[in-house]
Point group: C2
Chain length 394, copies 2
Amino acid sequence: MIDFNYFSPTYIAFGRGKESRTGELVRRFGGKKALLVYGGGSAVASGLIARVEASLGEAGVGFVELGGVKPNPRSSLVEEGVRIALEEGVDFLLAVGGGSVIDTAKAIAIGAANGGEWRKFYVGREVKVRPMIPAALPVGVVLTIAAAGSEASTNSVINLEPENLKRGAGGDVLRPKFAVMNPELTMTLPPFQTACGLADMFAHVCERYFTPTRDVTLSDNLCEALMRTVVEESSKVMADPRDYQARANVMWAGTLAHNDICGAGRVQDWASHGIEHELSALYDCAHGAGLAVVMPAWMAYVYGADVARFARFARNVFGVGMGAPDSEAALAGIEAFRAWLKSLGLPLTFAELGAKEEDIPKLVATMHLQGGTMGGFKSLTEDDIAAIYRLCCV
Amino acid sequence: MIDFNYFSPTYIAFGRGKESRTGELVRRFGGKKALLVYGGGSAVASGLIARVEASLGEAGVGFVELGGVKPNPRSSLVEEGVRIALEEGVDFLLAVGGGSVIDTAKAIAIGAANGGEWRKFYVGREVKVRPMIPAALPVGVVLTIAAAGSEASTNSVINLEPENLKRGAGGDVLRPKFAVMNPELTMTLPPFQTACGLADMFAHVCERYFTPTRDVTLSDNLCEALMRTVVEESSKVMADPRDYQARANVMWAGTLAHNDICGAGRVQDWASHGIEHELSALYDCAHGAGLAVVMPAWMAYVYGADVARFARFARNVFGVGMGAPDSEAALAGIEAFRAWLKSLGLPLTFAELGAKEEDIPKLVATMHLQGGTMGGFKSLTEDDIAAIYRLCCV
């Protein structure tokens, strides 16, 4: 186990109807005037936005609105949000939606607290080392998609225009103050989006599980518990989207997959996320779908770096390769993972995703590897990453 | 899964030498003058108290001291601490030690913030329903014993004199602001104290695992991951008290066993803790030793309420009863648990603990059951509890 700091102060209000507490929670965490950020029509059409607004009104919290957040959230909307936040003097960001909405709100929270500056905190072509974010307005969340874990994480990922680079910022100041989590709000998600969310949260655990750090028995066991749960509950939510209990387990799993309870004391990987971000930036595909393509290819490429760990993954997460030698078990585990993704209806290849093999040089070129490599489990060069993309094509 | 609120904002600084950050952390969380609470000679003799004082000095934090906390911490020392805190105008409680020291600091923190009142927040003869604690001074922790989990929990347990009643208070205001966790500080613990800590943290998970709540796949899996880890690592720390990695896993497990990550969304039990508290109050035995006697007896008495859950415990935590029917597996699991406690050198009976069968009426009489019963897994009357005590005698 390596030394670590762990600080996850997000207040979670979990259960049916909890969105009625939104106004009270904004006040509790110091908000008097909020910028309410949301996405498209479904949050409005379902009546959720109206319920949240009513709750704000009851608590005496003023608000202005910014709708229209898209998946792979765009920097242009962040700019607009920062402008509104500064003009209107808001002191709180309230995100009603999933990861894209929350990440947009976090970016606006940075800009509003730093005189309009936010972009320089997103690691990219110019910024090689993640800079400290000195301040951000407080952010609260009403979660509608179980996937990104941004409701309790330190991170925000934004698609930086005009180059279309998906880049991240991070820091303790970005942890939301509260997250309202009502599993009923996720029941109307289409099956494909539900599946993408399952792949995303599973990947968040993988990025921590596949580590070179030794003697991390506790977090190894926690990671496996999380991954097994996501697999166990996935068939229930896919079979019956209105299964409250399965939705509740999946929703809470999405949070714990990314609040870093599984990552404390471990060197983490995050290469698959980096490799995927280039895909969703270029093709505007769903992040979870991109991960379904990238993760098994990454596994097939890197498993030789620690066969025993992949054998353990196979046995303890998917229950395969039990009597087999490690090398066979490792491959059986990757196959089982792929089969699980397929069972969710997710793409597994470039072709199924709508990506093109001839774009690989462009994908690699925009990556701006920090220090020339990427990945904590196995350090990957540009050539390695191109090879992984090629594995996605077969 | 039942609705829940989850709020665990304790900042964790984990690793070698982290006690040097104590002063900085007290300042970060608003402290200018601390009451430094500790126990006996070992923290002084080891030089830890001097290192902590140096760190406070470097950060410009003033302090006064209160040593002498004993296991099963006494209310008289709390009274003294409250008096000092008020007289000296301290604004922060710094606990250097294990659960007894932290719980004493928490009680003083309540008293100092409520004009000297603290006792009325501890549920006892007069107080039947846990009252809201309106305020408490901030508490920070330098942890030296992996056991109680009080470094990140909402609870404090004090032995109320002169009646010798061990009673608890609880609330979000009692969550420590930070916990410095250096596994090296636990290496000099005697084997018996180490074992008591292992039993205590295992019990904290059990109190959450044995629940009547259905459809809690995620926290079921997390509970089992925690319990398996404690069992796996216990043989390593007992064999080599200076095994840093095993100490680190055990120390972090003790925190996660009681910060309620395993309890979110579940009806919890806590009967075993209540039954044990009467023992350590009357005989001044170690809480973990008392739990080693009580827990298996409680299990043997209640397992019929949900045989399948005990069979799952057997298979997923101890790997026994795999092919057997549930009723056999359940009993095999309780036996395996008992064997594990015995392997740690812990007592299993009243005689081994130094308790007396003829005291059972007295133990039951002082219990003051809330609503006449105790326990969320199976509701226990006074007669049930007497029967469990009698099972501890054979």
